[in-house]
Amino acid sequence: MKDDTLFWALCDMDEALILEAKEVPIMKKKSMKPMRIALIAAAITILLAGAVFAVYQYTRSTESLADRWEVFGNTEMPEAQKDYIDGKSANIGESVTDQDVTITLDSVTAAEKSAYLIFRIHPDPEVYGERQPTQHYTLRFSDSEIYAENPNYGRIEGYSGGGGGGDDENGDEWAGCTVNFDTLPEDAGLNDGNTTLYISLHTLMQMGPMGETPEIHGTWTFEMKLPQSETPDSIVSEETLSFSGGVEMEIRDIVLRESDVEFVAVTDNSNYIFVGSGTQAELARMAEPDKICLTVEAVLLDGTLVPTTGIHVGRDLDSREHRWSIDWAAPLDPMQIATLVFSDGAERFEVKVNH
């Protein structure tokens, strides 16, 4: 048997087993008394009446970040969190046409070190024909030029991260991308009200009904003042966590920020690897990669588990101190975080943050 036969054989397992695993167990419904039904009906009527007068529309960049949160965390983004992000967002509506394709910068969300941009894509139907349901367009961000300029710190290059996409209510396709500025000076923020972001896009990819992917090359350049917002103060925990059971490690200097949580892990054994996926920060020993030895989770005040999208570690082999940072899936008010949970299976430490 070849090394990977088992893996591919698992891929071929019976379809009924695959579908069964995703079936949701059916819960028995409790019967409701007529009075209770009447009260609920009245409450719904009042809510619906209120909704006529107050329909709030979030920016598309906020909605898109909420979608990302849901994908990473399998849970809906709380309303308070959406409101927080929307306070850092603005509708732009600036359009550029090249190669008979109009690209509109729909909206932007700017946090301290990253910006999230949403573009709408509208190829001229007289040139490209009416878009068929099987035809899709998406922007390639990897060959775009991106930089930020600020009178206080000059020009800083950015790089784009993953995006998303779909159809909007006008039938246009939209594409989103995150732009990160990790080299911003310590106290600088993209959301300080003085930052201008430049982005020049060059490639639009088409996906045709027969699977072909022709590209349209052009130049669509946007320049925008990023919306101003407050960057919340970081929360610093004085706690030192000493693990001595499953893993021998000390964790200290925990700092909670809008974009991530950072801490120093001190251990005599640097022979660890990160095995966490997008949604969970996990650490294992190299010799036993299937045995998770440390997990880190953040829980909001309403009990929601915060999805994370990346883990970075800076190793210092001389001092045995490793600086970890774990990115949130969307900008987050640190004041909304209730607890950080560090666990190695044997021991569990809860760092109470806002109580």
């Binding site: 591919w8 054989a9 397992m13 379809e15 068929q132 998303g164 996409g165 699977g211 990669p289």
Partner: protein, 182 residues
């Protein structure tokens, strides 16, 4: 819309079939692809390819279960994309390969041995209690994280890890006894 009606739209070459499929199974396919690729852009591309493959394969195919059919297409496309990526981002699939002690992944090639092994695995899983079978499939077909499985099943993460370890050992022994694994 019911699966039969969507399949009929595919047979009629009605592009509404793509809309209906995206509406009904888009999130399911996205979740499968994302667990493998850990990238929004790649996931989007993979799921778009899934719709195209489905469009191009129905007819002549007429799947008994559209969800399972699309899930399998997404799964295979995502694994092909994962293999082709030069810089492999660490994702759940990396963990799964390590857990299964598979050093590298080669091209998916149809072999009689693989089909036979798949049949033996399915038989083995059917004999397990439903909840254990479920965590195994969630981990080794859907490539879900341990915390995600914990949320789905309500089991503690440590319990899931030890159950998975036990099932892997039993499966290995089963395949050895059947003569497909040494």
């Amino acid at each position: 819309m019911e699966d039969e009606k969507i399949i009929a739209l595919f047979f009629d070459r009605d592009e509404q079939a793509i809309f209906e499929t995206r509406e009904k199974y888009g999130p399911y396919c996205t979740a499968i692809a994302y667990n493998i690729l850990s990238s929004f852009e790649d996931t989007e591309e993979c799921v778009s390819d899934t719709y195209l493959r489905t469009w191009n394969s129905i007819p002549p195919n007429c799947p008994r279960n559209l969800k399972g059919y699309m899930g399998r297409i997404t799964h295979n496309l995502a694994l092909t994309m994962y293999r082709r990526r030069s810089a492999k981002k660490r994702s759940v699939i990396t963990e799964v390969l390590e857990e299964l002690q598979i050093p590298s992944l080669e091209d998916l090639v149809e072999t009689a041995e693989r089909k036979e092994t798949a049949r033996l695995i399915s038989d083995f899983l059917r004999a397990l209690p439903a909840e254990k079978r479920r965590i195994f499939v969630l981990r080794y077909w859907y490539y879900e994280t341990i915390p995600s499985i914990s949320r789905t099943t309500g089991w503690k993460e440590t319990r899931i890890k030890s159950e998975l370890s036990r099932i892997r050992k039993k499966l290995k022994k089963h395949l050895e006894q059947e003569g497909v694994m040494s």
